[in-house]
Symmetry: C2
Subunit: 164 residues, 2 copies
DNA sequence: CTGCCTGCAAAGGATTTGCACTCAT
DNA sequence: ATGAGTGCAAATCCTTTGCAGGCAG
């Protein structure tokens, strides 16, 4: 899986490189989780741990649900994945954007990523450029000394469709 | 409990009035929940359902935890309570501000209330004037037709203390 | 009196953990 | 070969639900 001319996504490849660079092992479970999350990102889906588990099962039927949870945690600590807390339904995962440099410090704070808003009625998640929160970030820093992590939590409201 | 010259908080009194005006019953459980939430609001605490349950037990030892959950749901539907989803730890409750007029429509959307940010490290919750999100709200409405509910979810980041 | 609201107990879903074993390095 | 990762199963945590009885109106 290493010296082969692989046709896999460059993002997954870099993620694997980061794992190796950090002395982390590349296992079927981890590889599968990365492929699932990357695929979801490409189609702008937002997957929960549970759903990721289901899709991983299709690729690697022997991988246990508990392992998926542990993998998501591990990859997040490495900075390879990020997650967003949706008030109206759990936590969803993304491949970090940008991925950390080969050497991987723990817990990125202000990844470029994107911010999210979720509709309380239909649950739809909309992506928003993080710059939309720039002024809020400035206000929080100046007034409270609070450093906003733009993409870590979703704001709530009602989407166009649900407003009728 | 009705014709007595009660010295209770005017806010709790109005809340009870709203219950009655809507044909809802005023029970010891509901009264206790309202007192607990109101007290927390005064000291700017943010209480989870669980914690509210614990405090209610002190006032009314026979009130069951399940009843607290049902009460919180009922009072929220009445518009007497609001809740905020904290990504880093459940849901917390407030007395609605402003309280709905005696006639109580369901589910307030844009109460004045206040917005919240939470520190991912220490869990501290900071209150923020909702106007801080005004420009975000305008952007979301214009660009996406999305109606932001300013006070329904907390944003995440790191507070001054945890930044060192 | 009536039926809304409650207590109790049990179910439920999502995530975590202890342990022994396996396989990536 | 060595221990980081894993599978499995059981344990938690928080919240919800079904049911019968009790109290507010």
């Amino acid at each position: 899986m290493e010296a082969l001319p692989h046709s896999e996504s460059p993002r997954v490849a870099s993620a694997l490189a980061i794992l190796r660079a950090n002395g982390e092992r590349v296992t079927p479970a981890r590889y599968a989780v990365l492929r699932v999350v990357e695929a979801a990102d490409l189609s702008a889906e937002h997957l929960s741990a549970d759903t990721i588990g289901a899709r991983v099962s299709e690729l690697e039927p022997t991988v246990h649900r508990a392992t998926v949870y542990r993998t998501l945690t591990a990859l997040t600590e490495l900075g390879v994945l990020t997650h967003v807390h949706l008030a109206a339904a759990g936590t969803v995962y993304h491949l970090a954007d940008p991925l950390p440099e080969a050497a991987a410090p723990t817990s990125r704070t202000s990844v470029t990523d994107h911010a999210h808003v979720q509709c309380v009625e239909c649950g739809a998640v909309l992506d928003v450029p993080p710059s939309v929160l720039d002024e809020v970030a400035v206000w929080l820093r100046d007034a409270l000394g609070f450093e906003l992590d733009t993409s870590h939590a979703a704001l709530l409201g009602r989407c166009r469709d649900c407003l009728r």
